[in-house]
Assembly symmetry: C2
C-alpha cells in the first residue's frame, strides 16, 4: 500500500515523465528521503560522475547497488532533465540509423527492445524512500509487487522511437528478463502507455538462465526463425553483448542497477 | 613551429597533466582560441553532455568531428578535472580486476594498451587553436608532425596502472594504429614519460587494414603466439570490440575523435 507521500511522489514523477519541458526540482529527493545525510558513507572521495560514466561504458561490472555516496547524485540525475535528454539522443540516433536501413518488406526485419529502463521506466519505484535510486539492496518482493501494479510510465524517447520504427515497417520484439508469470501485468502496462502492438513478447521462463546467456539464446532463436535483428536497444550491456546481438546496438542510460 | 601562445599553452597543459591537484582555469580555452563564438553553429539545441555520453557508449558512430556547438564543452571537459578523474577511476577499476587475476608466471599473461588517448595524451595538440579539441577536421600532416615531436605527456592514471601491472607480473603489449614509420618517435615518447619497458610494441604497417579489423588481427596473432590477453584498454570501441578482445576490456574517455 502507498503512503500519501509515495502517492504524491508517484504523481509528480508521472507528470515529469509525461510533460515535455518540465524539470523536477532537486528538492523532490529530500521530500522522498528526509533522512538523507544520516547514513554512514556520505563522505567518500568517489567522483559520482566518473562512477556513472564507468557504469555506462561497462568498465564497472557486477556491482550490486549504487554507492551510498552517489545516492543523491543518481537521484538528481534520474529526476532531472539530463537523464531524459540522454535517452532522447539515443532514440534520435537510433531512428537516424533505422531510416537508412534497406528493409525488405517481408516482415522479418525486427527491432529488439528490452523493457525495464528501456521502454518502461521503474523510476516511480526507484525514487521510493525504501529503494533510494538503487542505493538500498534490491528487494525482489517489493519490486515484483510494483511490476504487478502495471503502472510504469513509458520512457518518452523510446516510445517515440517505437512508433517511428513501426511506421518504417519494422516489427517489434520485446525481449525481457522479467519472468513470464508477470505476462498479464506487463502486457497491460505496455498497452496502457502506448506500446500497443508487437511481433513477439519474450519473457523468461522459470528456471531459465539470465542475463547475457538468456538474451543471446532468445536472439539466436529469433534469427533461426528467419528474423533479422536490425537494431537492439537495452539499458544493460547484457542486453547488447553476446551472440546474435543485432546489426547495431543502442545503450540507454541506467545508473540504478546492474544485470550481468 | 610553435607560436609563443602555443608554447605557453603546451607548458600550461604539461603542468596540468603532471600536477596532482591542479585544475586548469576554463579561461585557458579562450586564451587558446580567442575567436570562439564567431563561428556559425553555436546555437544548436544539441545537449553536449548527452552527445558525450552517446559517444562513450558507442551509440554514436562514424562521426568525423566534434560538433561545433560542443567545442567549448569538450574543451572544458578535457582540460578540467573531470576527464582526469574519469581516467583515474577506469585505471583504478582495471587494477582491482588485475590484482584478482590468477597469473601463471609463465610470462604469457599480457595486458594490451592502446597508445593515443590511452597511455599517451595528445591534448597539447588537440588544444591548439587550429585543432579546437576535434571540432576542426582532422589534419593528418599537422598531427603526424606532432607525433614526431614525441612530447605527448602520459595519462597519469594509465601510467600508474602500467607500473602496477608490471609489479603484478603482467607483460605489456602496446598495440597502436600509429604507422610504424613513427616507431622511433613513439619509442622515444613512451620512454621519456615513464613507459620504459614492454613485451611488444605493435604498430601498423603501410597498407594494413585499420580500426577493429587491424586490432583484431594483431590480437589474434598474439593469442596464436601463446599469449593470454588478460586485459585490454583503449579509448576507442574499435580497440575493444572484434575477436580476441581479451578477458576484460576497459574504455577510457575520448570525446575528441572517432576511429571505427
Amino acid at each position: 500500500m502507498h503512503t500519501p507521500t509515495q502517492t504524491m511522489a508517484s504523481t509528480l514523477l508521472f507528470l515529469f515523465l509525461t510533460a515535455t519541458t518540465a524539470v523536477a526540482s532537486p528538492n523532490i529527493i529530500h521530500l522522498l528521503k528526509p533522512h538523507s545525510g544520516s547514513a554512514g558513507h556520505k563522505h567518500s572521495n568517489l567522483n559520482c560522475l566518473s562512477w556513472r560514466l564507468a557504469v555506462e561504458t561497462n568498465n564497472l561490472r557486477k556491482w550490486t547497488q549504487v554507492p551510498q555516496a552517489c545516492e543523491d547524485y543518481v537521484g538528481h540525475y534520474m529526476l532531472g532533465k539530463q537523464y531524459r535528454q540522454d535517452c532522447d539522443l539515443v532514440a534520435a540516433e537510433a531512428y537516424e540509423y533505422a531510416k537508412a536501413l534497406n528493409l525488405t518488406g517481408d516482415g522479418k526485419d525486427v527491432w529488439v527492445f528490452d523493457i525495464d529502463e528501456t521502454t518502461l521506466s521503474n523510476l516511480p519505484y526507484y525514487a521510493r524512500d525504501t529503494v533510494a535510486f538503487g542505493a538500498i539492496p534490491f528487494n525482489s518482493t517489493a519490486f515484483n509487487a510494483w511490476v504487478v501494479e502495471a503502472t510504469a510510465p513509458a520512457i518518452p524517447g523510446s516510445l517515440k522511437l517505437y512508433k517511428n520504427l513501426l511506421k518504417l515497417g519494422l516489427k517489434i520484439v520485446f525481449l525481457t528478463g522479467s519472468e513470464d508469470i508477470y505476462m498479464e501485468a506487463r502486457v497491460k502496462n505496455l498497452k496502457a502507455v502506448g506500446y500497443t502492438t508487437w511481433e513477439k513478447l519474450i519473457m523468461k521462463g522459470a528456471g531459465e538462465a539470465s542475463g547475457v546467456v538468456y538474451k543471446s539464446k532468445k536472439r539466436k532463436e529469433l534469427e533461426e526463425g528467419g528474423y533479422r535483428i536490425r537494431g537492439n536497444m537495452g539499458d544493460q550491456w547484457s542486453d547488447l553483448l553476446g551472440s546474435n546481438a543485432g546489426d547495431r546496438t543502442f545503450k540507454v542510460p541506467d545508473p540504478m542497477y546492474y544485470i550481468g
